[in-house]
Symmetry: C2
Subunit: 221 residues, 2 copies
């Protein structure tokens, strides 16, 4: 399992680089998803379950971005996903140039959906377009229902919000309706998926959404 070191892009034109990458990937029939969340929200567990469920008919590749370690990429490989670990040289987010490096090293000729697991951080990744076609964020039940009030940018810019660890709902004080209300005030069009990767609750709807996004944005053939 390969680990690559990436550095902040020299170019200042991140938005333009992101648009170019997005269009190149569309032509190559790969949907790129930027997955963002706090540390410890269950990104890797959600991805493992998604890969296991979908791999019969969808080839998923994973770019794991972290400041250090390769535990996530090793875990993803064990679930049968083509994976690469990217180290961000201390950077708190991925930009389009860094994402391109990851995509090239991963190799997407045999990948339908490439998922960038961004650095665990609810703030900085929301400010940088990675070139992804779809921005998905995760909020886990133990983090609390007030997080949309504190980190409004990320909740505003995501296409979909996955609320993870739903099996722990009875253990924590988390008001799902209140949370969804906060989010929809910031982002009326967001798709919300409450799930538990542990019990499987809600996973089918999330996976159907990903397939629908592939068909809609990339095309069926």
């Amino acid at each position: 399992m390969k680990v690559i070191e990436v550095h902040r892009s020299i170019t200042e034109s991140n938005d333009r680089d992101a648009d170019i990458l997005r269009e190149e990937l569309r032509q190559q029939k790969t949907l790129l998803i930027n997955l963002m969340s706090s540390p410890g929200s269950g990104k890797t567990t959600l991805l493992s379950k998604t890969v296991s469920d979908m791999q019969a008919d969808t080839r998923i590749g994973v770019i794991e971005a972290d400041i250090d370690s390769d535990v996530d990429a090793i875990k993803m490989e064990s679930f049968g996903a083509k994976s690469i670990q990217v180290h961000t040289d201390g950077m708190c987010h991925m930009d389009a140039g860094m994402t391109r490096r990851g995509v090239e090293e991963l190799g997407i000729e045999d990948v339908d959906i490439a998922i960038l697991e961004n650095v665990g951080n609810l703030i900085c990744p929301a400010e940088f377009d990675t070139g992804a076609h779809l921005n998905v964020m995760i909020l886990s039940v133990p983090e609390g229902d007030d997080k949309p009030l504190k980190y409004p940018l990320m909740f505003s810019m995501c296409d979909a919000l996955v609320i993870t660890k739903m099996d722990t709902l009875s253990y924590f004080t988390f008001d799902l309706d209140k949370c969804c209300d906060h989010v929809r005030k910031l982002n009326p069009d967001v798709q919300i998926f409450p799930v538990s990767a542990k019990t499987g609750e809600g996973m089918e709807a999330f996976e159907a959404y990903l397939k629908g996004q592939y068909d809609g944005r990339i095309g069926k053939d």
Copy 2:
């Protein structure tokens, strides 16, 4: 309850500003603690319990730093702590100049321990000296025991690590010994406090540590 907007300091000499603030606070007999963690790790709940337990003989003031909202400062006031909410203008961390603004607005003439609840983020706050005498970080059980591998800088630079939500240990896969081993490899001198603010487990040891730090760094009179 006052909310102030702070902006990135114009000065480039953050380390020098931090040293000056630290020394001024020492002369004014106030211990400043920089409390850092992920979003949703239980910083505010830990602080509420700490204030309730200690307020009979220690006057605690709280500077709540967030990108948006004032829910934390309102909560802290309800527990009897002098509080102020600082909005960081989208910034993902506090620096020494921003902290000075917060300290001045809070007013420390009647505060023994001032606690800066930094922006919820395991990465950027570790890079900026706030002027605090003591850096304390929180890791919550639901986040997972592998976090020291992924966010090594913060685990390396903190004086104390509080492991919160210990009452949920049976619910999550979290190996406390493994976690402590990871942390001590990065930071052999760190003090580790496993606690549950919900059940009270471990709180006494953490509060005794804070009092000891006040006496040692600021002096008893």
